[in-house]
């Protein structure tokens, strides 16, 4: 299955969207996400989609997605009173009210004569007794998980007013082997851990993969050929290409929001400065020129500014400069060392790693440096990455080593308020997650 095929089959889905009219959410079915804290999770009944056997699996993925957001509490199916036979019919709202459901999801999965799968869903507002949303999708049967994620995104958006984050992927570093000779491979999975794909063979040490906005390319660092440098990989073909040929180490790459540029560090004679490269022409320009370590650059969502990490003031702090270069201004002033800044896709926050005392945590601050909050902290929490809606972050957590054994390294997620901290399932130890934008449909 290629991304190209994905896009085509979902274009076909678009044609079917007119079948059922999407209606605006009613006030009753509204969850508001505020920085002060989340409301209690909304009880929601997600019924098995009728028709093909895959219908129940689709419902299961939708329920798991919504539960993972921390904003919904899927009701155990054994409590259901009404058995949905015809998902197009209005449910018996009293039966759902009786089990405490604020919302009900019904749907169907049908195999069509041309081999495609048709998936319909409806979201019902129990209090108002109305349909809040309804859509139909056509796709290849193998794509059923994507359809489930897209439906979950629709439900999330209808009820919270925020974009969802379920139809996304994560690229990361899969780790194995002893602590002093870790094997690291690039790997990619759906945000829920499904469809894991290992992209490199482990022969070369690889670090810090990041998606392009189309998810077609990954930019990362590799020690291939014994030289640590930045490469671009085409996800479909697996082809890897050196990004520029410099005498020193290149590292810490990130795409610009439009995907046309890559910002990264180049170490010349031991000194790391920040450069930006035009991906097509490969022309490069220098953004910082300072004897300090300048690294971990990240673009603002409009591409006009770059936040980065520098020890030019004596300790590691965060600085913002124009993406054309120029005088940076320091934004972090709290105690401790601030590193790996990443600008939220909504622009309202910058996430970072903070080393303070004996612990490492991930936190957020506004781009002006105000409103700092630590969201999670442990022996080593590092490298936050944003979900495309700017409301959730993923990072990696390393447990302390003991008796020569490397501590476990695992992915975790947390919401921007610091609630809903949970681990993200991966097949092996995992680090350096990078969350994709919503997959283009």
């Amino acid at each position: 299955m290629t991304l190209e095929k994905t896009r085509r089959s979902l274009l076909a889905a678009g044609a079917g969207m007119g079948l059922l009219a999407a209606m605006p959410a009613r006030a009753e079915l509204r969850l508001r996400i505020t920085p002060g804290g989340n409301p209690p999770p909304m009880p929601i009944a997600i019924t098995d989609f009728v028709g093909e056997a895959v219908g129940a699996q689709i419902s299961g993925v939708i329920a798991a997605d919504l539960e993972r957001s921390g904003l919904f509490k899927p009701i155990d199916k054994s409590a259901f009173i009404e058995k949905i036979v015809d998902p197009g019919k209005v449910p018996r709202f009293a039966d759902w009210r009786a089990i405490g459901a604020d919302a009900v999801v019904t749907g169907s999965a049908q195999q069509l004569g041309d081999g495609r799968l048709k998936v319909e869903f409806r979201l019902w507002d129990v209090a108002a007794g109305t349909q809040a949303a309804g859509l139909a999708y056509f796709t290849q049967p193998a794509q059923w998980r994507r359809i489930a994620h897209i439906v979950a995104d629709q439900i999330f958006k209808t009820i919270t007013g925020e974009e969802g984050f379920f139809d996304t992927r994560v690229v990361y570093v899969a780790e194995s082997g002893p602590g002093n000779a870790r094997v690291k491979r690039l790997a990619m999975m759906d945000q829920d851990g499904a469809n894991n794909r290992v992209l490199t063979d482990g022969g070369a040490l690889v670090l810090t993969p990041r998606f392009s906005p189309t998810l077609q390319e990954i930019v990362y660092m590799s020690y291939q050929g014994g030289q640590p440098r930045v490469y671009i990989m085409n996800v479909d073909s697996g082809r890897q290409e050196l990004l520029g040929n410099f005498p020193g180490m290149t590292f810490a790459p990130r795409f610009s929001p439009d995907g046309n540029r890559v910002v990264m560090s180049l170490a010349t004679d031991g000194n790391s400065d920040i450069y930006v490269m035009d991906v097509r022409s490969r022309s490069i320009s220098r953004l910082t020129n300072h004897p300090a370590i300048d690294t971990s650059p990240s673009f603002s969502p409009d591409g006009s500014q770059v936040v980065f990490n520098s020890d030019r003031g004596g300790s590691q702090q965060l600085y913002v400069m124009s993406s054309g270069g120029g005088e940076p201004r320091r934004i972090s002033f709290g105690s401790g060392r601030y590193t790996t800044p990443v600008w939220s896709p909504r622009g309202d926050y910058i996430a970072f790693t903070k080393q303070d005392g004996g612990s490492f945590g991930v936190g957020v601050m506004r781009p002006d440096g105000g409103g700092e909050r630590i969201l999670a902290s442990s022996y080593l929490d590092e490298g936050p990455t944003w979900a495309p809606n700017g409301r959730y972050l993923m990072f990696f957590r390393q447990s302390p080593n003991s008796r020569g054994q490397a501590g476990a390294v695992r992915l975790h997620m947390v919401d921007v308020t610091g609630q809903n901290l949970r681990s993200v399932p991966t097949a092996t130890d995992a680090s350096d997650p990078a969350w994709s934008p919503l997959i283009p449909q």
Binding site: N180, A252, S265, T295, S296, D311, T339
Partner: protein, 154 residues
């Protein structure tokens, strides 16, 4: 007999645990097989192939300068070798910052060797950041051993 062997192992482990948490680069003595003059083994075991750094620093300490002076003398005598200086960091820093710190440390070592007359053409460097610790541990003893510059011969 089994008990006796076990006792020997336990002693060796204790000795290791008691060693200085601030390792210096003094030449290891005793118990090391005689290294052939001019061999890689001599460079590693008699001259000392590595130097250590303070936290978040790439300054060469006095003990490091002594070791590097000996390395330079040896490298000037045995001209058939080229050397790659590896810069390493402990795990108490982020991956990207530690890559930069490792590059700084490797450059400090390389520049010192060059200043002692080792021809630049025989020297290069690489940073491994925190990716290749020598000691897998989460205490100051392990971190100190991992904050290092290693001169690797080719």
């Amino acid at each position: 007999m089994r008990t006796g062997i076990y006792g020997v192992m336990a002693l060796a482990l204790l000795a290791g645990a008691c060693s200085s948490p601030e390792p210096t680069t003094t030449t290891p003595t005793g118990g090391v097989a005689r290294a052939e003059p001019g061999s890689v083994a001599e460079f590693q075991q008699v001259v000392g192939d590595r130097v250590f750094f303070d936290l978040d620093s790439s300054q060469l300490r006095l003990d490091a300068r002594e070791t590097l002076t000996k390395q330079a003398t040896w490298l000037k005598q045995y001209t058939r070798y080229a050397a790659t200086v590896e810069g390493h960091a402990d795990e108490r820093g982020t991956r990207e910052y530690n890559l930069a710190l490792g590059a700084r440390r490797a450059q400090s070592v390389q520049s010192f060797l060059a200043s002692q007359g080792v021809p630049g053409a025989r020297l290069k460097n690489i940073s491994y950041g925190k990716e290749r610790p020598e000691v897998v541990g989460s205490d100051e003893g392990a971190w100190q051993r991992n904050r290092r510059g290693v001169t690797s011969l080719q």
